[in-house]
């Protein structure tokens, strides 16, 4: 019953309720955005543990900012502005241990090997190689290009929202995306043929 109510209320309305002291509405926002935010940061930092830690910081900042919240922009725009800042600041601070494969990381070789025996060895190797190459290619992009690609491709933000998150113009976002896709095209060209 509660979920039905939450489902028809907009993010901005929920946030305004949080502002008025309704913590249950914060739980509603969390249930909507927890997974997308964790995945956005996971793709940025490529480490599950760090991604969760940073995503918690994002939601903590949202909660902390509740008293000053004004629904002047779309909630997701505001949310991803915060998430982008947290991810980029973390990267600048050198907190990240990029491309560190651990058992906690579901896409690491060890975790894949331990997790499932369902796919054939060949399928497993192809998937591992493909996933690894995509992660490497995205990880090698300059920070702003990487952020733009992830927000565009996985979070499905529009150019205006990405521009707000990166604090630049929409045309700059399109330019960032063009350069990022061009780099990825060159780097992943050997995979593209098999994908068609």
């Amino acid at each position: 019953m509660r979920m039905d109510v939450v489902a028809i209320v907009t993010d901005a309305e929920l946030m305004l309720r949080v502002k008025d002291g309704d913590d249950q509405s914060f739980a509603g926002l969390l249930s909507r955005h927890r997974e997308p935010v964790v995945n956005f940061i996971y793709r940025m930092v490529q480490n599950r543990g760090i991604a969760e830690e940073l995503a918690q910081d994002v939601f903590l900042r949202v909660y902390r900012a509740r008293t000053n919240y004004e629904p002047s922009a779309k909630f997701t725009t505001w949310l991803y502005c915060i998430a982008t800042n947290v991810a980029l600041n973390s990267s600048r601070d050198g907190k990240l241990s990029r491309n560190t494969e651990t058992l906690d990381d579901p896409e690491s070789y060890a975790a894949r090997t331990l997790r499932s025996t369902d796919p054939t060895v060949e399928e497993e190797m192809v998937a591992r190689s493909l996933g690894w190459e995509i992660r490497q290619a995205i990880g090698a992009l300059p920070e702003k290009q990487k952020t733009a690609v992830i927000l565009h491709k996985y979070q499905e933000l529009d150019y205006r929202q990405i521009a707000a998150a990166l604090d630049c113009s929409e045309s700059a976002v399109k330019s960032l995306l063009f350069r990022a896709y061009e780099s990825l095209r060159v780097r992943l060209s050997h995979l593209s043929g098999g994908k068609k």
Binding site: V38, E52, Q56, E107, I138
Partner: protein
Amino acid sequence: MNCNEIEIHAIEYMDGALSAGLRTRVDAHLTGCSDCRERLEGFASVNDLLDSWDPIVPSAAFDARLERKIYEQKTGYTDWWAALSALLGGAALGKPVLAGALAAILLVAVSVVQFAPNQTQPGAGLSEMGTILATIEGSEELFLYRNLPVLENFELLSNFKVLQELNSSTP
């Protein structure tokens, strides 16, 4: 439209976000420019490839950890030291004051333990306990009592009536 203009519109073209008029113009350019056509086909392939990076599911502990952070945020207790400080004397206590107080408490506690008079009765040391045990050696009950954990506590042992009776009955 030239190749530079294609760069501006390439992503929107890939996303299907161009107006019909612009799309027609881009299509017209691509018909005659193999480089741009190849590039945009490559972009579409990359876009498909990126789909294979599956999302992760946040761990079950995510909400609990966040809740703890929010609690810390609300209460202002960011660490155990702050919580202890508040518990002992409120926020006015600074770390040096609290450290001094704790050191003093520790010092008093050590002094009490070190210099307090012996609480046990005279002759109730470990050697006396051995003597008592020796006096009842040979009794069938000795094995039973020796294996009772309660015998490790001499206070209990010395007040244990059964042992006292055994002790007095042994020649």
